[in-house]
């Protein structure tokens, strides 16, 4: 059938569940040959699940997968690779201390080895051939770690394309949020390359930037809560319709609780002057006020996360000063930062925000143990700790069977609420938030946003670092844009006159 030959990849009513959790429900998706299919959705909507099923990392619970019209069943990425399927992950899958050509052929050295000894000239020549064909100006013999992030991304995509030379198949390339860490210029190069390369391949393009999708995709599929919620040819749709399919309802004005935004910020709480970290931050000065949410925008490497690290005490600036409530704050001292009332909610919740194997109660208690002791002995009081935990569970509506449950068993939104409870119990007056909505679904995000408004209303000063521009614009009283370690603009974002994303982006790139 000629029709099915035109479909490179087809998912037919594919489902995937992990225990009681349904990650993907009856998803049917078709990727046409020599086209780019965009896959959009919130975190947790099922994008990564689709990628992991297509690349052989996980087996679907139900449904069929067809590659070039033939039903395919594979149980490992290596088997998927033989059918031409290759994934380019957002966290890069290249080994930095290997040469570029070694990475291109990693795990597929067979044709280039004899009795286990590698023919490096042959491997390098192969990589050169692949790069020439794709028009890449990268020396395959250099060390991978010496390339820029954007170059490495292109190498990884080239690695995916090289499958076409190794196996008698046309590549199907899965790009998992390829632009999230690229500069504008690098993104342009990537898009130009994709447009050229799709003559030789079919591409599944996962992104949460709708602008990317309109730039480079031929078709688009929207996912919500594990189901396909919309499917269009790109010329038949627009951003609003896709957005509605992603969040399941029209974009509401109240999502970021703009009505609760404080109009007049209070007294200065934290004053930073001339903060400099070699190669990361250059002469950063700003003032954070009581009850204010100060947004920090910037691309990866702009210095926005370095600033959060300086405030939390994990990074020591070479010069500059920070005054908190008028008193100087010493650098590089996390314990002192906490003692002075700065609470950090890190982006990496699982490694830095919460102890997964400890209970909800223990996680909440950690910075406040001094308050949870008996009055007369230096011994922890079980009763005080219990009522503390119970109180926060009720007050923040944390959904957990009880306070003893290990936090790793909670959903992302509820775990994040525990992290907030931990700092609220400590009574911190300054919150440093690095991407607090990361990995949370729409509903959980909305609850966290409401919590931020509540904290601001109580006079807590909040520094909000985020990759999510609508979130930054919606929540902040002001936004500082960072580029190459410098503040490039300060944008006022009063509730009645929120700037558009383009205004903020102008300061970032």
């Amino acid at each position: 059938m000629s029709n099915s030959e035109q479909i490179a990849l087809e998912l037919d009513r594919v489902s995937k569940s992990y225990g009681p959790l349904v990650a993907l429900r009856d998803a049917s998706i078709r990727l046409k040959r020599h086209s780019v299919l965009g896959l959009v959705g919130e975190n947790g909507a099922g994008k990564s699940t689709i990628i992991s099923i297509v690349n052989g990392t996980r087996a679907p619970s139900a449904g069929t997968l067809k590659v070039n019209g033939t039903v395919a069943q594979f149980s490992s990425p290596a088997e998927a690779a033989r059918l031409g399927i290759a994934t380019v992950f957002q966290e890069q899958g290249l080994v930095p201390n290997l040469k570029v050509y070694e990475n291109i052929l990693l795990g597929r050295e067979k044709q280039f080895s004899r009795l286990g000894v590698l023919n490096s000239d042959g491997m390098a020549a192969f990589a050169t051939l692949v790069f020439d064909e794709l028009g890449l100006q990268i020396d395959p013999r250099c060390r991978t770690g010496d390339l820029s992030f954007g170059q490495r991304q292109l190498v990884e995509i080239a690695k995916a394309f090289s499958l076409g030379h190794l196996y008698p198949v046309e590549p199907i390339v899965l790009l998992d949020e390829p632009t999230s860490a690229l500069s504008d210029q690098e993104t342009e190069i990537l898009f130009a390359s994709i447009r050229r390369w799709k003559e030789k391949a079919s591409i599944l393009f996962v992104s949460h930037h709708l602008s990317d999708v309109f730039e480079v995709c031929d078709d688009v599929v929207a996912l919500k809560d594990g189901s396909v919620s919309g499917q269009w040819r790109i010329e038949d749709t627009d951003a609003d319709r896709i957005h509605e399919a992603i969040v399941g309802r029209p974009k509401l004005a109240g999502y970021y609780k703009e009505a609760e935004q404080r109009l007049v910020p209070g007294a200065p709480v934290l004053v930073a002057e001339g903060i400099t970290v070699a190669g990361e931050l250059d002469d950063i000065s700003f003032t954070l006020h009581e009850g204010e949410i100060l947004g920090v925008a910037g691309v990866l490497g702009s210095g926005k996360t370095s600033l959060a690290a300086v405030l939390s005490g994990t990074k020591v600036p070479s010069s500059g000063s920070i005054r908190l409530h008028g008193e100087p704050l010493s650098f590089g001292n996390q314990a002192q930062a906490v003692a002075r009332g700065i609470g950090t909610v890190p982006a990496e919740r699982n490694s830095s925000g919460a102890i997964g194997v400890h209970s909800v109660e223990w996680n909440m208690a950690l910075p406040s143990l001094h308050k949870l002791r008996h009055d007369k002995a230096p011994v922890l009081s079980a009763a005080r700790s219990a009522s503390m935990a119970q109180g926060w569970i009720e007050r923040l509506g944390i959904r957990t069977p009880d306070r003893h449950v290990q936090i790793r068993n909670l959903s992302g939104g509820n775990a994040q609420k525990v992290v907030f409870a931990k700092w609220m119990e400590r009574g911190v007056r300054v919150f440093v938030l690095d991407d607090p909505g990361r990995g949370l679904d729409v509903g959980a995000k909305e609850e966290i946003y409401a919590l931020l408004r509540e904290l601001a209303a109580q006079g807590v000063a909040i520094l909000l670092v985020s990759d999510n521009l609508p979130e930054l614009i919606g929540l902040s009283n002001r936004i500082l844009t960072f580029r190459s370690g410098r503040i490039t603009s300060e944008i006022a974002t009063p509730p009645a006159a929120k700037p558009d994303e383009a205004t903020v982006v102008r300061g970032m790139v």
């Binding site: 399941g248 996390q334 930062a337 830095s352 997964g356 223990w362 230096p378 909305e446």
Partner: protein, 329 residues
């Protein structure tokens, strides 16, 4: 928000669920019951009060050493020098007994342990050398020093006041050495669960970055953990020297493996953060009952080693929580 349906398990109590979730805590109990039954059927003497006291006497020093190791494993580090601290402290105590008397001997043994712990911890914290390597090196250094001091032979002494004390029975016919070990276990369990120190040690093991982020002075508490471990091993060395009536340069040689096996079997994860000293008591009991039982039923010592190793592997394989390990190396 209604869009985020709770995925929490049902609250209704189910015995099979409870057993599944608590299997790891119950496991050492089950092993102990099975072993006691098996050995008891083979030889009725095994299940007597006298033999129980034997088991206790044989395992008191191991319990002290295992408790020491537990405090370090709780923070996700490891102390491989425990056995060599026992040896060195035992020899120092043996040397100190006759000239300076029992109290000084105890202080010297415990003090040397704390000092070694301080050095271990300082190298870990200041030079950022992984604890595995620091304490592996320290193991060799201390064994060498112990042999140098002792001249390769046992140190004898005339002052038997400590020996008489540890072997005496004051409480209900239970030898003092057992009371000392159990008292140490009780105190450490209290420290682990009822004090800020204990909670911080658990937190560092469960997530060092999280602990640091919450304002815990992580490096200082790591140092404390190693000093605690060293001091307990020093005490174990003094007790051992008192028990056998001499300080010998091979005294602690076999304790490292037995103690790690006991800790892990008890349920303290090698990756840290969960478990605790109370769990280690059970792990030590398993090893002690196994060794004593095989003696009582007359298994030869080479076969004993094979059986003990196999039981440890089996026990650990069936108890470790694989979710805690990202990679099994």
């Amino acid at each position: 928000m209604s869009s985020n349906a709770p995925t929490s398990p049902a609250r209704t109590f189910s015995l099979s669920d409870w057993l599944r979730h608590n299997a790891i805590s119950l496991y050492p109990f089950i092993v102990i019951v099975v072993l006691v039954a098996a050995f008891g059927i083979q030889n009725p003497y095994f299940a007597t009060f006298d033999n129980a006291m034997n088991i206790g006497r044989q395992s008191s020093v191991l319990l002290l050493v295992s408790l020491a190791g537990t405090m370090v494993i709780m923070i996700g580090s490891i102390d491989l020098s425990v056995g060599s601290i026992v040896t060195l402290a035992g020899i120092v105590a043996a040397l100190a007994l006759d000239p300076f008397g029992p109290l000084t001997a105890i202080a010297a043994g415990v003090g040397i342990g704390v000092l070694v712990g301080l050095i271990n911890g300082a190298i870990l914290v200041q030079l950022k050398v992984p604890s595995f390597l620091v304490t592996l090196g320290m193991l060799s250094v201390l064994s060498g020093i112990a042999n140098m001091i002792a001249g390769g032979t046992s140190i004898m002494f005339m002052d038997f006041s400590l020996t008489d004390f540890v072997n005496a029975t004051v409480l209900l016919g239970v030898p003092n050495i057992i009371v000392i070990a159990l008292l140490a276990a009780a105190i450490l369990t209290f420290v682990a669960f009822k004090t800020v120190l204990g909670r911080y040690l658990f937190a560092i093991g469960g997530g060092e970055l999280v602990a640091a982020n919450a304002g815990v002075p992580v490096q200082r508490y790591k140092l404390f953990a190693f000093m605690l471990s060293g001091g307990l091993c020093g005490l174990a060395g003094v007790v051992l020297t008192a028990q056998v009536g001499a300080g010998t340069p091979t005294a602690g040689a076999n304790m490292l493996l037995d103690s790690i096996a006991a800790i892990v079997m008890g349920g303290t994860a090698l990756s840290g953060g969960i478990g605790g000293p109370h769990r280690t008591i059970l792990g030590v009991l398993v090893i002690a009952i196994l060794s004593n039982g095989m003696d009582v039923v007359g298994v030869n010592s080479f076969t004993q080693e094979v059986v003990k190793g196999a039981v440890i592997i089996l026990a650990v394989a069936s108890t470790i929580d694989r979710k805690k390990y990202q990679f099994i190396k």
